[in-house]
Symmetry: C2
Subunit: 302 residues, 2 copies
């Protein structure tokens, strides 16, 4: 179910092609209660994976009301609808953004939350609190929060992956667009961070690993797990320049870059302690940076 | 404008009687956009004092979704409506609850916020963040957040004040009901706190002082103040037993009490540093505990 503000039904067509299955898909706005009710009436739904929401940090700073209304209002509306139809299982797309600027590394799930500096991150944090309070009040709920680090890459076929228009704001599509010559050069924002090469360190997780983390969470919900929180990351951090070099290797093309000042509000390093999710869900990221870059290249050259 | 879920138009009739003015009053739900628009079309509105919201801590723990939807959804809807009609001035009813368990006393406006332990307090904190982000994104807004400590007492005529049904959950109406014999005895929850007499310490502010704080904030908004935060408290803390004794003096009646264990989640002491609001708004609480108790008695015996 998606109202497709920034996505396309083409992606679902490709999911069907890759899996050889027909995944029922509905073009519905989550805030449209009538359409929502109709869907829940017609289908037996065991669990909702809640990915809906606006997710661009910069836009959230300029249109905070839109973000709060869509993300928080949408989630409350969804929870009410689920309750109406007796559906009490949810996996929620949270974000490492809820940790704010890390007070230690790697970040485990006990790290303090709430120090978010932009409205996007705050919507994730506020929704986490709403889901937690809802689970405390009504014990029949099972909710798994997955705090995403940096999902990147593509399916090995290159048929699924991030395909932004214009100059991408996220690093990996940006680098891949440079590697295929669609963008002239990479701009590296900040080379004076306290990191191995001075550039920002992030925990990049391949989207296929990431998807399999959700399948593991789905199985975990069957245990009537209550309210649980897991990091979805690899546990490894990579610098921007490492990423550019890995792309040069994967593509056999140069990735020229220029250096610019830091982005306001960006943090130096952010990577997960991924031990709890491995212990509890039996899930672990399998694909390394080289493989993520290769798959991104397959996507970029299509 | 009030949808009157827990209030009565009788209060407004008494406001008109006391002031000798007819205050235009509308029985409208803030979430009813059509009614809201109609009101904003018909009247020239310079500032919104936003008191709307559910406010019972215990209920919020049992019905968190109702609280998040009403308080946060209501505020977002109100802000959108104000924007539509070019009204950019707001005074918002926040609460000392946003400070959570104080890390120092007295609490000034720079004290960290967000450590709220119940959904009611979180709704106040989340709304503060939404208002702050909205002011950052659109510079034409002027918003004064007033963080209330414990408003109590009544208008000197006894015609206006808190008049709960059944056993009151707030201390002052509880004590006054005991003083007039409507309730047998006061239960004191916790006598082993680290406070002068072992009972909880709070900063009680008379409702008339409190109302005058809002008038001062309204004048302050005329300066195009942007986003500002002030404590609305007296700066003095009183224990539960002090409060009971003051009521015995005010009423000439005994206030018997029994001792019980602490309420889960209650904090020992909470009182304001009220110097910033005095400096910036020129406002200061005038009425002392004895006067608050006298006025509450006038209300209770009616």
């Amino acid at each position: 179910m998606d109202n497709l503000p920034k996505a396309s039904m083409e992606s679902m067509r490709r999911v069907n092609e890759i899996t050889g299955k027909q995944v029922p898909t509905f073009s519905i706005d989550m805030l449209d209660k009538d359409a929502f009710r109709d869907l829940f009436k017609k289908h037996k739904i065991l669990c909702v994976m809640h990915f809906a929401g606006l997710k661009t940090v910069e836009e959230s700073c300029h249109k905070p009301l839109l973000y709060y209304k869509t993300n928080i209002g949408g989630t409350i509306s969804l929870l009410e609808g689920m309750k109406e139809f007796g559906v009490y299982n949810m996996i929620f797309s949270s974000s490492a953004a809820v940790y704010g600027s890390p007070s230690y590394l790697p970040i485990d799930e006990k790290h303090p939350v709430g120090g978010c500096i932009n409205p996007y991150g705050k919507t994730k944090y506020f929704i986490e609190e709403i889901l937690k309070d809802n689970c405390s009040a009504e014990k029949q709920w099972n909710v798994v929060l997955l705090r995403y680090f940096n999902p990147v890459g593509a399916h090995v076929t290159g048929k699924l992956g991030e395909d932004p228009q214009g100059i991408p704001s996220d690093l990996m599509p940006y680098v891949s667009h440079v590697a295929v010559g669609r963008v002239k050069e990479l701009t590296v924002y900040g080379v004076d961070y306290d990191t191995p090469d001075g550039t920002e360190v992030r925990d990049y997780i391949n989207v296929v690993d990431w998807a399999q983390g959700h399948v593991a969470a789905l199985k975990y919900l069957e245990k009537d797990c209550g309210f649980k929180v897991f990091n979805l990351g690899t546990g490894k951090g990579y610098c921007v320049i490492e990423m550019a070099k890995a792309f040069e290797t994967a593509s056999g093309k140069p990735v020229p870059y220029k250096i610019a000042g830091r982005h306001a509000g960006d943090i130096a390093s952010c990577y997960a302690d991924a031990s709890l999710v491995e212990k509890e869900l039996g899930w672990k990221a399998k694909l390394d940076l080289a493989k993520m870059c290769e798959d991104s290249m397959v996507l970029a050259i299509q």
